[in-house]
Symmetry: C2
Subunit: 351 residues, 2 copies
Amino acid sequence: MEKIQKVIEKIEPIDQEIMEKTQKRLDFLTKPRGSLGRLEELAKIVVGIKKEESPDLKNKVIFTLAGDHGIAKEGVSVFPQEVTSQMVYNFLQGGAGINVLARHIGARVVVVDMGVACDLKPHPGLIIRKIDYGTKNIVKGPAMTREEAIRSINEGIEIVEDELTRGIDIIGTGDMGIGNTTASSAILAVITRTSAEEVTGRGTGIDDVKLKRKIDVIDKSLKSNRPDPRDPIDILSKVGGFEIGGLVGIMLAGASHNIPVVIDGFISGAAALLATELEPKVKNYLIPSHCSAEAGHKQMLSFLGLTPLLDLDLRLGEGTGAALGINIVEASIKILTQMATFHDAGVSEGL
Amino acid sequence: MEKIQKVIEKIEPIDQEIMEKTQKRLDFLTKPRGSLGRLEELAKIVVGIKKEESPDLKNKVIFTLAGDHGIAKEGVSVFPQEVTSQMVYNFLQGGAGINVLARHIGARVVVVDMGVACDLKPHPGLIIRKIDYGTKNIVKGPAMTREEAIRSINEGIEIVEDELTRGIDIIGTGDMGIGNTTASSAILAVITRTSAEEVTGRGTGIDDVKLKRKIDVIDKSLKSNRPDPRDPIDILSKVGGFEIGGLVGIMLAGASHNIPVVIDGFISGAAALLATELEPKVKNYLIPSHCSAEAGHKQMLSFLGLTPLLDLDLRLGEGTGAALGINIVEASIKILTQMATFHDAGVSEGL
């Protein structure tokens, strides 16, 4: 916990003074006051996080973390477990949804093996931070040891710190892991103290029979593992996943380095729950990209007190929603830095 | 009406067969079926409109039409009337919100004087299609003659047809005109047969006193002009605007040339109401970009039966929401054309 504690201690409050100054600057731009709504709000948040009056979001980085889940054996997905590793190769070849959307917005994708269930072929674009070959089946016991949970967060922190040398102006979070909506629903149920039924959705698109099984599985795992709702590390180790722990680390590290973190959907949301339970200040650094079609995500966002930018019925993960969200955040910064003022453009100000 | 009639006759139903084929193609891509939600839906719509299996949205064109309104004299805005022409110069210099967002998405902005209240200095980027020096004050009589209403639509059609030589793959609509939320509210009230009070908002950000005056003004204009709810040309001439008529023409022409038209906020929405009243088939070609913060826009979209892509509390107009919407549409087409299939990527298909 020492590394995590150190990172948390580095997280500063965001700069309210520069945000107020930014609102004044926005009010001088050639538009009715406040007429760019959430774009103005986003510009202010990014300025407040980065403590720079005119930030540049050149280096957009999406961290897509992959990990396998022992629970996949219980048949909680429409896909077999090997799809996790197959999709990692797809990411590395540039053919997945996240690759397409990252290219669209000019971001780079950092692909990490946090705990895929097989040894992946080496690839220059693949970062190996494997904790284990998938988590254990949470119906039968904890997903991982407490030590592994801490390690997964530490690895997430290191991934960001290593990548800093290449430049990071804004972070997007993403995930891949057959079975990880099950883990995320379990985390959500523990933290919001609700039943499995209320927070469990269809993930990859399971039918009613599988949905019932998935709810049972989560129920059983919560009863047998008894995660402590006040201890995020305990929750992560009992019912979480390696990629989820890694994403917690990414969020903590982003916040500690004054980098805005645009969170993707349901799995990133579960990591955000854990990260903000570890340290509430992290929340100021999180920008929610979209409301997922996955049942429970709305609840998750409302518990976090975050209003998503988009609502496009996405439920793919990988960071796809985060990519679209980053693009809107970048638009907001361009509004702030590129629009003419009333004075420069010779436009009469409003009353 | 002859030109308008000819354009309307050219509007075809969108191609359902190619859309079904596209859904099958989307289902072969490496993602759970349907998991990209509205992006999949958008890709299908664009394919159905363009009747091309793999359309390219290289030429993105935002038409920003400016016109003045006699009603501005009644004090329905926080800005004086000269801001319309000042903002046109701002568009031409590249300093306005729409310029910033168009650059962000790689679109070009076509700026048109449909009826600004003064003679604008010539500029290579400015298209002059001036019907008159602003509309008449609708409290005292009709905004324009029936002949002018028809001409404004014709000009809109010609603007698109002229621009076709430079290439148009997708259209965004935009507007500038002090007083034009008043005209748009009046149009909305007539077509949806509701009271001025229910459909009138704060436009540029007016206070309660001005809002009351704006509602009174719309009320009076509807009572004295008695626009015929079944005759869109009558509505346009009695309470509309030259830029609104121009936008009607842009939508008709876009539809007749199989080009998707991404509509901006409240003013574009008023034009969409008129265009779809003229010819319901136009609706299949319209993609609503966002739900504006302007009161009445939600009602407008629901009357049109269109679900917006974004809800960011924007209320600037100019085409700013359309620009962000186009960017999402482009993302959807890249998903369709650039993602790997299960077969190509060697990923196991779901059950």
